[in-house]
């Protein structure tokens, strides 16, 4: 029995962990599923309780890790436990890249589909599941079924948070790249309106875009941002003497194993934000950067989640549909005026979503921020934000969530009952369960 938490290190619960190595192992474990059910876990990067199962069984799928690339088609077939880090390490030297990469490459393929993850290219390329051609799902009865985007169960699984079965394998289309480098433009904006205007007007010139917002800036600076936008560099862009297809992320710094709870406080974060904002050039074009610092700056610090101290932290990520900019402004202004200490607040423009009833992205704006869990009044503040988000027709991202209420979820995901019906068909006795499912009455 082991205590497990998500990446936010909040609300630990105890479960038995099994580590299947083959699909046959999976079926055998499911055949003796305990009364409290089975949850599926990858690298534990969901922030909340999606991969926990109090009193039950948790399948650690990270040992299912074989994969192949068909160089003729760019299709990768990977076991559910393969990490995007492993894929990048193998793919980039051969001139291929994953179709979507979230803010960390330490996620599994199964997790990427179950949370239908998005990256900086969502406005151009949608989310991970949009690139999946087929997947093998091991269902509650231990059978392995192959699903394609024509199957409703495929879309209940994409974004289904592991509650329809175990994603044992998936085949998805990768992207050819000339180099493993990124050609990046960086610019600063003075406030939120300018940020939104610049992103709306010129995001389509870039495959990858994101804005970092200084949430501690207030008054006329509210929402000032650093915009980072780029594309895969062409071979000719790579500076002479550099291996154009190298992928060797710098040796990772390690966060100290213990940090005082108040380390990230308004003073230190304000200083960091000021420095980060000032460090960014007014405008800089054509910066050549590696994949790791461009996509995954936080992966450079191993265990950065421990910096929030023993009570952990909450990540709040929501989307409001296009036209909901007033809600976005209202929330940014409120969080700024409350002095919410968020280390990395990220704004991203979404393009079209996928057909998954529980898939998070929709065309509009998504904002993600980290907040120490011990902050007084946080529960009420985020409930208020939930209210505004739901009223605007938006929703909160389940892969990040650790505190939403079941009632708010039902409002934000109007196709919840459709998803429940599909899940009921696939798992009539409710073998697949998680703390998140209990909390949100999924």
């Amino acid at each position: 029995m082991t205590f497990l938490t998500g990446w936010g290190r909040t609300a630990p619960t105890r479960a038995t962990v099994a580590r299947p190595r083959t699909v046959a192992d999976l079926a055998a474990v499911l055949a003796r599923a305990p009364g409290r059910g089975v949850a599926v876990r990858g690298l534990g990067r969901s922030y909340g309780d999606a991969a926990q199962n109090a009193g039950g069984l948790v399948l650690d799928c990270t040992h299912l890790r074989s994969w192949t690339l068909d160089e003729a088609t760019g299709l990768v077939t990977a076991a559910g436990g393969v990490s995007l880090h492993d894929l990048m390490t193998g793919l980039l030297p051969r001139g291929w890249f994953v179709p979507v990469s979230p803010g960390t490459r330490h996620v599994t393929v199964g997790g990427a589909i179950a949370a239908d993850v998005h990256g900086k290219n969502h406005h151009a390329d949608s989310s991970f599941a949009a690139h999946v051609r087929s997947l093998t799902l091991v269902t509650a009865d231990g059978r392995a079924v192959t699903l394609t985007p024509r199957d409703p169960l495929f879309w209940a699984t994409a974004g289904g948070m592991g509650l329809t079965g175990v994603i044992a394998e998936a085949t998805f289309a990768c992207v050819p790249v000339e180099s493993s480098w990124m050609r990046v433009d960086v610019e600063r904006t003075g406030d939120l309106d300018e940020t939104l205007a610049v992103m709306t007007a010129t995001d389509d010139r870039y495959r990858y875009t994101v804005a970092w917002i200084d949430l501690l800036a207030t008054g006329r600076h509210t929402g000032r941002s650093v915009l980072t936008r780029g594309d895969h560099a062409r071979r000719a862009d790579v500076p002479a003497g550099r291996d154009p297809l190298a992928f060797a992320p710098a040796a990772r710094l390690k966060a100290p194993p213990w940090a005082p709870g108040g380390l990230l406080n308004p003073v230190t974060v304000r200083a960091f934000n000021e420095a980060w904002y000032r460090r960014a050039p007014q405008a800089r074009r054509g910066l050549i950067q590696g994949v790791a610092p461009f996509f995954h700056p936080l992966d450079g610090v191993q265990g950065w989640n421990r910096m929030y101290g023993s009570r952990g932290f909450v990540q709040y990520q929501f989307v409001v549909p296009s036209g909901g900019e007033a809600t976005l402004r209202r929330i940014v202004a409120r969080l700024s005026s409350e002095g919410v200490v968020s280390f990395l607040t990220v704004l991203k423009r979404f393009g079209p979503g996928t057909p998954g009833p529980l898939s998070f992205p929709m065309p509009g704006w998504t904002l993600a921020l980290d907040i120490p869990a011990g902050r007084p009044g946080l529960a009420a503040l985020l409930r208020l934000c939930d209210r505004w988000v739901a009223d605007a027709g938006g929703r909160v991202y389940l892969a990040k969530d650790s505190r939403l209420s079941a009632a708010a979820l039902a409002e934000m995901y109007p196709r919840l009952d459709e998803w429940r019906a599909l899940r009921e068909q696939a798992d009539p006795t409710g073998v697949f369960r998680s703390d998140l499912a209990r909390r949100l009455d999924l």
Binding site: F3, G8, T10, A11, P12, T13, R14, A15, R36, G48, D49, N53, A54, G55, G56, G312, V314, A373, L378, A379, L382, R383, S402, R403, L404, S405, A406, A407, D435, L436, R438, R439
Partner: protein
């Protein structure tokens, strides 16, 4: 499930008419709990406001341990996992009357101690299987050091406090927890007509402290919190002085 910020979904209140218990349940409902189960002896129930939470009633007799298992079974049927079980039942009684009526005194201990032992063990078994959940035990400073003025009640609370400490240790590492609440003199129905002791508190203050304790995974909560250092000293007073303390 308890969420990242310490809000819970389901609450079973044993002692469903207890003023303190209802204050705690009400507070947890306002903070997001969606199912509240009030377990008490049959009879007219107060209808407190629990916001949007679903409220259920179950028959529960603290003095009848044989029936306790069925109460937990019924609660699980209604609510699924129980995130918080509040053991708030108890009788205060009158010390002088107890000294005249030993049978009544023993019966009060049956509720205040034996009833908690039975209900607590049932709760512990359930929470251990769940792998999560908190049993909130309403102890009292009266049990921290038993006083001449209410030693029948105080002795039961002393026994309960010790039982709850041991139970918490037994559950350590299981994911389930015990939280012991030690209020001082609580102004309310139970103490109506009694002169308030120094540092008296209220049911709402107890509820606030319990909610904060749940957020922080506290093992022991004193209400008000300054009673903790006060009783650290009280425990050391020579008996000759302790005996002479008023009330």
């Amino acid at each position: 499930m308890k969420n990242a910020l310490g809000s819970v979904d389901t609450v079973l209140l044993l002692g469903g008419r207890s003023e303190i218990g209802l204050a705690i349940a009400g507070r947890l409902a306002r903070e997001g709990a969606r199912k509240i189960i009030l377990a008490s002896r049959p009879g007219p129930s107060p209808a407190p406001a629990f916001g949007g939470a679903e409220v259920h009633h179950l028959d529960f007799d603290a003095a009848d341990p044989a029936g306790h298992g069925a109460v937990f079974d019924a609660a699980v049927k209604l609510a699924g996992d129980l995130d918080v079980v509040i053991a708030a039942f108890g009788v205060l009684g009158d010390q002088a009357a107890y000294e005249e009526d030993p049978q009544a005194a023993a019966e009060s201990v049956g509720v205040n101690l034996a009833g908690h032992v039975s209900a607590g063990l049932h709760a512990a078994r359930l929470l251990r299987e769940q792998g999560h959940g908190t049993l909130v035990v309403l102890s009292s400073v009266a049990g921290v050091r038993v006083r001449r003025a209410n030693f029948v009640y105080g002795a039961a609370k002393a026994g309960l406090d010790g039982f709850a400490q041991g139970l918490g240790d037994a559950l350590h590492g299981s994911g389930a927890r015990v939280m012991i609440v030690r209020p001082g003199f609580v102004r309310g129905r139970m103490t109506a007509g009694l002169p308030a002791a120094p540092m008296a508190t209220t049911p709402d203050a107890v509820a606030r402290a319990v909610a904060a304790g749940l957020r922080a995974d506290a093992g022991v909560v004193w209400v008000p919190s300054k009673l903790r250092p006060v009783f650290a000293v009280m425990r050391l007073l020579p008996r000759a002085i302790w005996r002479r303390l008023p009330r």
